[in-house]
């Protein structure tokens, strides 16, 4: 079976056969969700050495799921929060709280042992696009997301930028650069901004351990370090964090059958 998570920023696809992950692929959504979904599926199939004819079922989730369901006539479309909760439980049985750090939306959700939703909170409008901001700042420094996290870990100073929103944080980060502050400290300030906004959101709902983290941003080690410090909880980053949604979509197909 195949899972497709067509998110704001990236389209993730994963191939699973009887609870075993065969292969996965990520393709930028690039504001053309349909073509990127097809491409991601094709790449995932290649990666897992499976022919598209062998696919029994495809489950789609993510921000563009309805669009993809209609245009690629896929039977099952699963809302993100359901897919991510199911995926989290599949990857970690005793997880009860998931923090999902996507490209445009961040959310924290609580669920019971079979992934049924108990409570959920999403970021407010001024905190939209934290993932996109993370990537664009990496690009501005001429490095990729992974290096940005490594650089931030090397920072010594404890600087901070405006935490209202990505636009203000960016203008103050650029201002720090103009003051001659070197990149690791500015990268650290940017991460602290993102983490402050995420933790402000998460602490509104009671966080029940175990807390797991998913989404593309979770791949940033420095960010997770800051976040667990601020939340005063140890966070368990799920393996392949950005595919949690896609995995959940596959599981929802299974239960659908």
């Amino acid at each position: 079976m195949a899972g497709l998570d067509v998110g704001h920023v990236n389209t993730k696809s994963i191939i699973i056969r009887s609870e075993e992950i065969l292969g996965f692929a990520t393709v930028p959504s690039g504001l053309k969700a349909v073509s990127s979904a097809q491409e991601a599926l094709k790449k995932a199939l290649q990666a897992s050495g499976v022919l598209s004819s062998e696919l029994k079922m495809i489950g789609v989730t993510g921000f563009f799921r309805n669009m993809i369901q209609k245009q690629l006539n896929i039977k099952i479309a699963v809302p993100e929060e359901v897919a991510e909760a199911k995926g989290a439980v599949f990857l970690n049985r005793n997880s009860r709280t998931l923090i999902s750090l996507g490209g445009n939306i961040q959310k924290a959700l609580r669920y019971d042992q079979d992934g049924n939703l108990i409570d959920i909170i999403q970021n407010d409008k001024c905190a939209d696009g934290l993932g996109i901001f993370y990537t664009s700042m990496a690009k501005a420094f001429g490095i990729d997301e992974h290096e940005l996290s490594e650089l931030a870990l090397k920072s010594t100073k404890h600087l901070s930028v405006a935490i209202h929103c990505p636009a203000s944080a960016e203008s103050e980060a650029i201002d720090l650069i103009c003051q001659g502050i070197d990149i690791p400290d500015v990268a650290d300030a940017i991460l602290r901004f993102i983490v402050e906004r995420i933790s402000a959101m998460c602490t509104t709902i009671p966080l029940e351990p175990e807390i797991v983290v998913a989404g593309g941003l979770a791949k940033s080690r420095a960010l997770i370090k800051h976040l667990s410090l601020l939340l005063k909880h140890d966070l368990n980053v799920l393996s392949t964090p950005e595919y949690v949604g896609a995995i959940g979509a596959v599981i929802s197909c299974g239960s659908e059958k």
């Binding site: 690039g30 939209d128 696009g129 664009s136 636009a167 203000s168 960016e170 203008s171 650069i177 103009c178």
Partner: protein
């Protein structure tokens, strides 16, 4: 990446009386312009990661082709947000004053309003016919980063920054996006994509929103004829047209041979030329009260 070009090769600096330079150290890129006997001779533009490393890089880039050395340049004025970290500069002038100086030099004394729309901030400046600043307005924080949001939007839609301006022309009708700030416009743009709005219309809507935000800034300070737009966003035709339609005023036509991002550096070079003439003839022409310059 560093761009370099010789303005007019005809000038031979060896026989020139004076050579001066203006250096604009920006957050994203740095630019340098050399004047020979008051005539623009050569300029360079260098993408920089930090201002500290860029002042030498951009100066070397402009000197390299001409065979000039730093010693030949008799007066250098630094501007831009990194102007404090230019060791070889004789004096520092803000990019506000340089913008009007460069604009008046290029488009003539009829210029009264200069919009410097850069990556991080947009500045509206009123000036006299000689280019002296009479009033200016800097964008408020919720209107910051409009230039940068263009780059991010181009990256999101997997298109080139220079491309999206013209794409926004391909459609007449498009929905309305919130023009309050870049963050709102971006997240609403993603929402439009989900509702099957074709991508050209979304790009056009994004440009319209950002152009409206800049126009309200210009409107706050007031627009006096003649109006010019400089800075990187002047190269984005979608933004420029949006501003012209909202303000119902058309700007003076762009000087094709001059990249709008270089005009602040040109202004700095003009100041350098003026200060140097002042130093040589013992009378400072440019500003009445010498004592206020502690720098």
């Amino acid at each position: 990446m560093s761009k370099y070009s010789l303005k007019n090769g005809g000038l031979d600096w060896k026989r020139a009386e004076r050579m001066v330079a203006g250096v604009d150290i920006g957050a994203v890129s740095s630019k340098a312009v050399i004047l020979v006997d008051g005539q623009p001779y050569a300029f360079s533009q260098v993408l920089t990661r930090t201002p500290k490393e860029s002042s030498l890089k951009v100066m070397n880039a402009v000197l390299a082709e001409t065979g000039l050395t730093l010693e030949n340049i008799s007066y250098i004025v630094a501007t831009g947000c990194g102007r404090g970290q230019v060791p070889f500069a004789h004096r520092k002038i803000t990019e506000i004053a340089c913008a009007t100086a460069g604009a008046v030099h290029l488009w003539g004394p009829s210029v009264r309003t200069v919009l410097d729309a850069g990556g991080q901030s947009c500045r509206v400046i009123h000036c006299t016919e000689r280019g002296r600043v009479t009033d200016f307005l800097w964008n408020d924080k919720c209107a910051s980063g409009i230039g940068r949001s263009m780059e991010t939007f181009a990256y999101l839609s997997k298109k080139e920054i220079s491309e999206i301006g013209s794409i926004s022309f391909q459609t007449e009708t498009f929905p309305q996006l919130s023009d309050f700030c870049t963050v709102y416009a971006q997240s609403e743009a993603l929402d439009l994509i989900r509702d099957n709005v074709p991508i050209e219309q979304v790009i056009a809507a994004f440009h319209q929103a950002m152009a409206k935000r800049i126009s309200t800034l210009v409107g706050r300070l007031g627009l006096k004829k003649d109006f010019v737009i400089i800075g990187g966003l002047a190269k984005n035709q979608g933004i420029v047209n949006g501003i012209e339609t909202f303000l119902k005023v058309s700007r003076l036509t762009t000087k094709t041979e001059w990249d709008p991002m270089l005009i602040v550096a040109l202004g700095a070079a003009l100041y350098a030329d003026d200060f140097y003439k002042g130093v040589k003839s013992g009378v400072s022409t440019s500003n009445k009260d010498e004592s206020i310059f502690s720098g």
